[in-house]
Amino acid sequence: MEHTSLLERILRGVALTLVVVFFMFPIAWIFMMSFQTNETILRIPPQLIFEPTLANYTALITGKLVTAAGTLDIAFMRNLWNSVFLSVTSVAVSLLLGVPAAYAFARHKFRGSEDIAFTLLSFKFAPALLVLLPLTLYFQKLGLANTYIGLIWVYQLICLPLILWIVRGYFEDIPADIEYAYRIGGHSWFATFRKIALPLAGPGIAAAGLLAFIFAWNNFVFALVLASADKQPVTVGALAFITSSGIQYGQISAAIVLSITPTLALALYAQRYLVEGLSLGAVKG
């Protein structure tokens, strides 16, 4: 590290603060909104000092939304559970299918392997709305509409290509000699995959899994069309806060805070694996 002057450090601090404020402001504002009532939120000019209330959170957790027009049932906790269940299961299925497939694409050049890999990637090219109508019709015929299995299946369109292509790159980065060395030592190809390839690509798999989880969590369109109230994730469930007596900004904010918490926690937890993945590159070769 070169010697830095005091001025340089101050300027750097100011620049960093600006960036952090710019990116964190919406989240901070939503966090503050979640502790306010609709009246204080809509006050003009907006005020930084208010009397915090936990009413929004109690409404979400108890599932009773009290408005001027009466009491509404809100299935937010159910939605949150749906989100967790759908995202976790989808990513798990994608990892189970995608990681071995990525290994096959990385290590074995068979006839048409590039075409198959590209076809899988192309699932991400088509706009979701384009495939939704035929998909809905098929799902209704097959009895998959409004089922968890149907939704998890559709979520593979989001998760599988992502995991496949990211993890494939990580497998390709492992020098083939390392795997050869293990096999020559007397281990089967499956043992080599389990003991050498998987641990070495581990950070990549973690990163891909995390990204896929966030994409699945944030999905809106597929869930909106293919799931009814009891299977809806939070992204769709938040629509319920637009009531006949107005938009419940306080509850929406509280719902957002609650629904970003799992992804945020996961990202913070996975961070050390991602960093480890970067430093692992130093020992290659």
Partner: protein, 372 residues
């Protein structure tokens, strides 16, 4: 134990033929060195034997059994890679232990096996380190230990000393032959360093462009190289190569070097009148007094003392540059006019067009009619 035999092996990558109809036999317990420039197909050959790539044609036999279609893990081979190929997520101990784990040995057997081979290779003190904490020399020894630990009957060593420093390379060059001999294993050793090849090989196979150009003992390769290329690769400083046209007179066949007729003895009838190249090892040339029989006048251009020997660059009257090597401490000239003479036995004659060596025996040179 295991002998190794390759029969008519062909390996192609796309349209390029990397190994061209190659046959080779390595006897049980023999150390064969594969020597050649990069791109000669040495590493591909090792990988075919190891079973990590498959030949397009031909057969590979280990211990007399056809192993061509047998997977790598069932061939019972130990291999050390040029880039070490250590498992970065395992400690040196676990790295070395992997071949023993594959045999489902008990923990105590694994521990004893790893520790004994680590002691042999002087890495017992770093067994708990991961590869990133090891020096290049320690990595190389760990890779070697991993290849040796299961006592495989066939060992493949792919230029294991390439990426280590000169001092360690010299040490290992001294240690390896004993280490390999103690194990009694059949060894195929790849290198680009002719000194390593000479020091380690029972036999040397010189490869280029996917073909074995010459196969023989280190002595044979050095004394009777098959062609100019091989003569040039073995020897430091490199062999002197001079264009000559042998002629015949009443006393036999001779070549003219700076107007001095140097008579050759041997089966060189076919060489008369053809364009040839004579190969003279620098150590086969020596400084002599003016007037000595066969003395060739030269001018000394430069002198390089290399501790144990002194290499002198001289220029003949026809302007050709020649290297003369002599042991340090022996008389010579370091400047001005001098005379050199050609010592017999190691001078070689090659065909100019094909580069192939002429004659099947050692060349014997007669100095101006003197009997050799």
């Amino acid at each position: 134990m295991a002998s190794l035999e390759l029969r008519n092996v062909v390996k192609r990558y796309k349209s390029q033929t990397v190994l061209d109809n190659l046959s080779l036999t390595v006897a049980d317990g023999e150390t064969l060195v594969l020597f050649g420039p990069s791109g000669a197909g040495k590493t591909v050959l090792l990988r075919l034997v190891a079973g990590v790539i498959d030949p397009d044609e031909g057969k590979i036999l280990i211990g007399g059994d056809d192993m061509t279609d047998v997977d790598a893990e069932f061939r019972g081979i130990g291999m050390a890679f040029q880039n070490f190929a250590l498992f970065p997520h395992m400690t040196a101990f676990d790295n070395i232990a992997t071949p023993l784990e594959a045999k489902r040995s008990s923990q105590s057997v694994i521990k004893a096996g790893v520790e004994s081979v680590a002691k042999l290779l002087k890495i017992a003190h770093v067994l708990s380190h991961k590869p990133r904490a090891l020096s290049n020399g320690q990595k190389q020894r760990t890779a070697l230990a991993r290849a040796l630990v299961g006592s495989p009957p066939l060992l493949l060593l792919d230029d294991p000393l390439r990426n280590v420093d000169a001092k360690l390379r010299f040490e290992m060059r001294l240690e390896l032959p004993r280490l390999l001999a103690d194990r009694g294993a059949t060894v195929v050793y790849v290198t680009q360093d002719y000194k390593e090849a000479m020091a380690l090989g029972d036999r040397i196979a010189v490869m280029s462009q996917g073909v074995i150009r010459q196969l023989g003992t280190p002595e044979q390769i050095y004394r009777e190289p098959a062609n100019i290329e091989i003569a040039r690769l073995f020897g430091d400083p490199t062999i002197n190569l001079l264009d000559v046209k042998p002629a015949r007179d009443t006393r036999g066949i001779y070549v003219g070097l700076s107007n001095v007729q140097v008579h050759l003895a041997g089966a060189y009838e076919t060489a008369v009148g053809r364009d040839c190249v004579i190969g003279l090892r620098p150590e086969a040339l020596s400084f002599v007094e003016e007037g000595a029989p066969g003395a060739i006048p030269v001018t000394v251009e430069a002198e390089t003392p290399l501790n144990e020997k002194i290499v002198t660059l001289v220029r003949t009257v026809r302007g050709r540059e020649v290297l003369v090597s002599r042991p340090a401490g022996t008389p010579g000239r370091s400047e001005g006019k001098a005379h050199i003479s050609v010592d017999g036995k190691s001078a070689l004659l090659f065909d100019h067009a094909s580069g192939e060596r002429i004659g099947s025996k050692n060349v014997v040179i007669l100095r101006n009619g003197e009997a050799a």
